[in-house]
Assembly symmetry: C2
């Protein structure tokens, strides 16, 4: 059925936010609940789409419908539209499916003209109030509908105050205001090219056109781009035509905004502020300071009680904390808006737990309502509300990458690098950043820019690096020559200490106390619930015994990726490892490898012990050997120092290293001599590592410690490679068995990170007992994007131009990489029943990727230890989304769950 | 039906070479034709496989069958096995499905013992002959079956000659030989650990065991590895048991080898050599020099006529030139072997054309019998037979990469590079090569090694570079310290000029005249036939007007890849191009691009004109910009020179270049900021190129010259990228139309060289009118192999260890890359009817890849101009193989052919 273009608030279907807009849907819902909403109607987003489809013309018949609706509104309110006799006044408010605060236009007091203003004077009992309302209409209407420069009106207002010899707007009397209206109309007609429309319906028609037009206004378009709001989510704005109510009708009037629970803490108590005898505008104008809502209890105890009761009703109805606008007009209570409250992560977690215990909803909904991404806030340092209140805020921008950081402001890339080298924590402050600034990102603890949105270069790179970042702090003007940055009254000189809050977008002077992230009791409760719902296993990437212990404490169910090369980079071993690379022949290489084996075995013992029977996937050496070589001069020094030999030997060592480095140098190291390719050409390295795993497992089993090790081969592209390593594994296993009369069960598997491995997975699964998707490299190979190069050269521009919707290194590219993963998992399992399939790329900690992995039937995800909680919640959400998928068919069979 | 283990020559099915071996099948065929083959039988390769399957034991029942067969042989020959009375003697000859000359063992005169030797003396009428045959049996049997050191027998022979006071073996009389046999038996029993077996059947059993054993002898295994003979092609050897005939029974006896046509030229005349009154062994021993076969006409005119007649019969029967062994025993003519003659490419081409005109076979077979790869010989410089005869051969090895080259021998990598820099043509001579030697390959005109096979590092790298190469010239001993290389009597000092023939494996002293490659009349005939059969289009990769003209003359049906960046590297433009890269802003960049546009348009005009209406696929800029930057010092010089400015400006220019180079530098340039990614970030570059194509096409159309241009976008990974360039194309097309009132039909398509493009081809085909597979990059991405790094670091070892059967950069990897291609073509055509699909990677000139492309239903291949003839033949073979595929169903519909 085709939607009508207009719905009265008691007619619209509140569940259709896409049609009615968020605000409209809320007004309809509240009206249906019997709450006191001023009468009115919604013009739908569909009408807005027609408006654009027909070349920015109001759709045929719309105004006829509007006229009819206004007649109905007259009936309901008992007031008369555009008349002197108890005039009906309305506000015309935009409202898209997604809230875009302040981005589109709203016009108040529509319906006033020279005649109805007198009616308003009578019905309100205040001439001053009536003429002031009229003045405001002419100004706002001129500005919004005809683009008349606001400063012209402001100048006239100043002049009027001078003439009346008063200082404040509110001191102008009705006579002065009446004269000012005449002056305003004059300005209007001179700059709008027509007289101010006296006809109320003409006012309304022009206002509707202006609101529709504002949907594609520059501000709104930029906002949607910056916030990734696509046409699928919100296409066009609805318009709410609402009978005016006034919070400034005297002592019994007020207006305010309230949250049903504290959006910063989740505390169950209404939270907000109000102004007595005022309009919402007055808050914006700064002429009045709002009071906390608790004051209302003293000032208007009945109204406060009414408000509290309403909040409870709305929460019980929506089963979500609400964010409400209300107006009290001469003792009558009105609701002008309700919407789901935007809360920070801590508040979301607390309200989830509380509302379950209050019986508002069940644990499933408690999990589903959380933004898994938002939970990241809880895992970074944050600035407490108290500390923020005490700090001096210098500017505000868009919160682009979470976490808080304190450091010295540096306005130049080169100086940022040198300041960091000098040991200073640096906050890089730039108008915007460019690829050549990336080195400075590495040197900085946080990034602040005055331009750009959530997908700007700075935002994308900072998020990729996990560094706090604020972008688009547009009040700031940066003067690099003077090394200063000016924001309103404040100035930040280069070298000043500042603090940025990547969660809120606030920039503060000096250091501000931050709260270290910690898992609260409520969060623990949530994680417990998540664990009970999820199907996917959640493991951690950890390379050291310490990291393994931390991962286990964080709730990891195993280690999905233990990178053995990280162990070689430890201080006590890198020397040995370099000697191994420099060895003249295999015999010498084996000699050194024997020493490394002892160290590596000890690491494995500790890691396996820490995981106490949970699986540990140990990846054999992956990077190319040249990555381990120091610069030749350092190496020579070390040789000289360690072996107390002469300068000549030192130079020889340098030369040898240079030669070896030249031998090993590669054009494209990402796709070069690494992973299993090293295992094929220097089989003794893999042999050593495999033996170390066997020996570690045997040592633990002798001590009756449970140890479950898995050996994983990286960069495999063909079954032949895997068989080659398997032969080494078999030989080592046989030798270990002969020696110790014990055969630990150590499974043998492969990374799937080479495209060819994904394409030939059926064959690989004949040898591999498990697969683990290395989605970092798989993404690089699928796109032919070298990640480092892409992120510094062109990926930010790709995102900004909309060529990709998000970085494929952050969320799995389902059409390409995801397709390969699904094909691979399917073929692998067809070839080997019970093949274990997981993911250990960075995507393993990304909620939307976890959703994909669940759907693709993976057994587990492995994430960075600090993202384990996010992964747990995302895994639970994926499972619950599958359970409640429309049509009933879950995307995935619960095989993972069944197996455990 | 299970095969029997033994077939008499008149029983075996000659078409089953895999079962009977090549030699056995030939003997069976000739017997069935009624030709004079000595009676005998074949023990099958199946028996050999059973032998190995049961742990090197003769299969159960085999010897019973052999005994029965010997009884039948007695009947047929009227001779008696192992008896003094007209004894039956036999040879035991190996013979696998694939000829492996000299690699396995053969034993003659089996059946002689103290008793039968007397019978032989009577039947042959020569005691000396009988005892000499016996002596030879003991020696060969001792050596082959029991591994008795040959030199022990040789020493005894020398002693016998001393005792008899004679110089030649042939001067020993029967008494001395009888004594020598006793001595030989003594040696035998001492070193074999048992007495020489007197029982004929025991001799035969041991001989059979020895021949089977030799299949896995080291020599044979290495040969098969070096020549890529897998178990699929030949698994096990058959054994031929043949009644002995003797070419040394007096003046009416002879033995020889003959080709039915000249294997070097294809000339239709028998070609070969023979020895009168001798055995084949005598040739090997070097004691006699064979005479050309033409002499036989004078010496034994009847036998010569018989031979010619037999050759005709065999050719008529096999419909292929044959390579024949014959023996004349006292005026009786016997055939001992026939097989298809191995000929060089020129002879193959000539015989193909000749035999069609002789009515021997049709044009299809004429095409199918050619080795498309072998034709490469005709496209490289070659050494004429005459020149080779006149030259002094120093050594011989395995022909690993075709073509002939003359240069100075250099034994050291560093010196090779410096000699090349000094302008000398270098032949690199090494024991074997290693990755670090690759720079010297670039500096050399040819490579010669004393070790390694066809898949050794040297062979793989040289073939990849298209340089002549000989490997495994094992007679050579290289002494790098003395800078000399010794081969038998010959010495090659470093700096000596040598010539290598990569077609034959011969190494010659000094320069040897080479013949430039040219397409002969016969070859042209073949290419004409090929054109009539093929379904695939054959285009050329060409970047300049000259190359385009050459490609068209060579028979190219279009240009499948015209790389525009090559044009920027020309002397007169690289400066401008660098200026463009260095431009401070878009305006300056556009200014320079306008100049480049003029040059590029002129190139396009010339290329399109040269192709006269045939399609020309123009690829937009592909490499990363940094590839074009000169080294900063050079750039500064150029700036200084060109603009006559001061040293300070020169340094500024250098510094600017350094900065820009640092900006643009990449970690993995293969997967970096290149192709369409440059087109997205610097759209003005692509805009310029697209406009140049449009303007060129319009200019030609005004002159009524037919021009068919296709614009191709490189490195595309998503539909969004392609749409981005398409928008530029549409704008440029509209502008051109507005300006010239003409709209040339220029199609718009994409490379498929990024994995993601192959995976999302359905979407791409909505925008692309054609696909062209860039299999070089697609192979790199599918394997995660950077080609340069892989070929210099690990790919040769992969090939040697059997991890890949051939370099995936030479022949398409069907399981991985081929799978992606097939998926892509399928999805593309499903989305767009009539989508043109081709290939422009180097694989487009590789016969097995062309076969794959035909099967995958591609429309055309595009190859390097010099490989066009190979591509034509391979395309024809692919089409013909499809036509005659068993089961009748061609792998591909003839869509390409239908379209033209």
């Amino acid at each position: 059925m085709k939607a009508r273009p207009i719905y009265f608030f008691d007619e619209g279907d509140p569940s259709d936010r896409r049609l009615l807009g968020g605000k409209g849907a809320g007004l309809c819902e509240m009206t249906k609940m019997g709450l006191p909403v001023p009468p009115g109607f919604v013009i739908t987003t569909e009408a807005c789409r027609s408006y654009y489809a027909s070349g920015q013309k109001l759709p045929h018949g719309l105004m006829a419908g509007v006229r009819k609706s206004m007649a109905r509104l007259e009936e309901r309110t008992g007031k008369t539209w555009g008349s002197r006799n108890n005039p009906l006044l309305i506000s015309v408010r935009s409202g898209a499916a997604i809230s875009m605060p302040g981005m589109m236009d709203t016009i108040l007091n529509v319906g006033l003209n020279d005649s109805s203003v007198e009616g308003l004077a009578i019905s309100s009992g205040s001439r001053r109030f009536a003429w002031d309302s009229y003045r405001r209409l002419v100004q706002l209407f001129g500005k919004v509908v005809f683009g008349v420069d606001d400063s012209l009106f402001e100048a006239a207002l100043e002049e009027a105050k001078r003439a009346s010899k008063v200082e404040l707007d509110s001191q102008l009397d009705d006579i002065a205001l009446r004269r000012l209206v005449a002056r305003y109309k004059d300005i209007f007609s001179r700059h709008a090219g027509r007289a101010f429309p006296a006809d109320a319906t003409e006012q309304l028609e022009l206002a509707i056109d202006a609101v529709f037009r504002s949907w594609r206004g520059e501000r709104a378009v930029v906002y949607r781009e910056k916030n990734g709001i696509t046409d699928e989510v919100a296409d066009g704005t609805a318009i709410n035509v609402v009978t005016m109510v006034f919070g400034n009708r005297g002592p019994g009037s007020a207006t305010g905004v309230v949250f049903t629970r504290n959006p910063g803490t989740g505390e169950r108590r209404i939270f907000g502020e109000y102004l007595a005898n005022a309009q919402g505008e007055d808050v914006v104008a700064g002429s009045r300071t709002p009071k906390p809502i608790s004051e209302l209890r003293k000032e208007m105890p009945k109204m406060h009680a009414r408000l509290e009761e309403t909040c409870k009703l709305l929460e019980a109805h929506f089963r979500e904390p609400q964010d409400i606008e209300f107006t009290i007009e001469s003792g009558s209570f009105y609701l002008l808006q309700t919407r789901g409250a935007k809360m920070n992560a801590a508040a979301m977690v607390k309200t989830s737990v509380d509302m379950v215990s209050e019986g508002m909803f069940d644990r499933k909904r408690a999990i589903m309502r959380l933004g898994a991404d938002q939970l990241e806030q809880l895992l970074h340092p944050t600035i407490s509300a108290a500390a923020a209140r005490g700090a001096r805020q210098l500017a505000a921008g868009i919160a682009a990458s979470p976490g808080a950081a304190t450091g010295v402001a540096v306005l130049d890339v080169g100086r940022a690098v040198s300041a960091a080298k000098a040991g200073k924590p640096v906050i890089l402050v730039r108008e915007e950043t460019r690829p050549e600034d990336v080195p400075a990102f590495f040197s900085s603890v946080g990034i602040l820019t005055s331009k750009g949105g959530k997908t700007s270069h700075a935002a994308v790179v900072a998020r990729g690096m996990g560094k706090p970042c604020i972008v688009g702090a547009s009040s700031m003007r940066i003067d690099p020559a003077a090394r200063v940055c000016i924001s309103g009254e404040a100035r930040i000189r280069e070298g000043d200490t500042i603090t940025i809050d990547g969660n809120s977008g606030a920039v503060y002077a000096g250091p501000v106390e931050t709260i270290a992230p910690r898992v609260t009791r409520d969060f623990k409760t949530i994680l417990g619930w998540a664990r009970s719902f999820k199907a996917l296993g959640v493991r951690a990437n950890a390379d050291t015994p310490e990291a393994a212990r931390a991962a286990r404490e964080g709730g990891a169910e195993g280690i999905g990726l233990c990178r053995t090369e990280r162990m070689f980079n430890e201080r006590d071993r890198i020397g040995l490892f370099v000697d191994m690379i420099m060895a003249e022949n295999e015999a010498r290489r084996r000699e050194i490898l024997a020493k490394l084996e002892v160290l590596q075995r000890n690491d494995f013992v500790k890691i396996l012990r820490a995981m106490d029977g949970r699986p540990v996937t140990i990846r054999l050496l992956d990077p190319p050997l040249h990555e381990f070589l120091p610069n030749p001069a350092e190496f020579g020094e070390r040789m000289a120092r360690l072996r107390k030999i002469k300068a000549k030997r030192k130079m020889e060592a340098e030369r040898a290293l240079q030669r070896r480095a030249a031998d090993l140098a590669e054009v494209n190291p990402m796709m070069g001599h690494r992973g299993v390719r090293v295992g094929v050409t220097f089989p003794e390295i893999y042999e050593m590592q495999i033996r170390a795993v066997f020996e570690a497992a045997i040592a633990l089993s002798k001590k009756r410690v449970r140890a479950v090790a898995q050996i994983m081969v990286p960069q495999v592209g063909s079954a032949a490679e895997l068989l080659h390593v398997r032969a080494i594994y078999d030989r080592v296993a046989a030798e270990a068995e002969a020696k110790h009369k014990a055969r630990p069960r150590i499974s043998f598997g492969t990374m799937i990170e080479v495209v060819r491995a994904a394409l030939t997975s059926g064959e690989l699964a004949r040898t591999a007992e498990f697969f683990s998707f290395g989605t970092n490299d798989l993404t690089q190979a699928t796109f032919s994007f070298s990640r480092e190069d892409a992120e510094s050269k062109f990926l930010p521009e790709y995102i900004e131009k909309g060529l990709v919707s998000a970085s494929p290194f952050q969320s799995i590219d389902e059409a390409g990489v995801g397709e390969l993963m699904a094909t691979s998992a399917r073929a692998g399992r067809a070839a080997r029943k019970g093949l274990e399939v997981g993911i250990c790329g960075e995507h393993g900690g990304d909620p939307s990727s976890i959703m994909f992995c669940h759907g693709a039937g993976l057994d587990y995800v492995s994430a960075s230890p600090h993202r384990i909680p996010i992964a747990l919640v995302a895994a639970a959400q994926a499972a619950l989304a599958g359970d409640s998928a429309p049509g009933g068919a879950p995307r995935r069979k619960k095989r993972g769950a069944a197996r455990r």
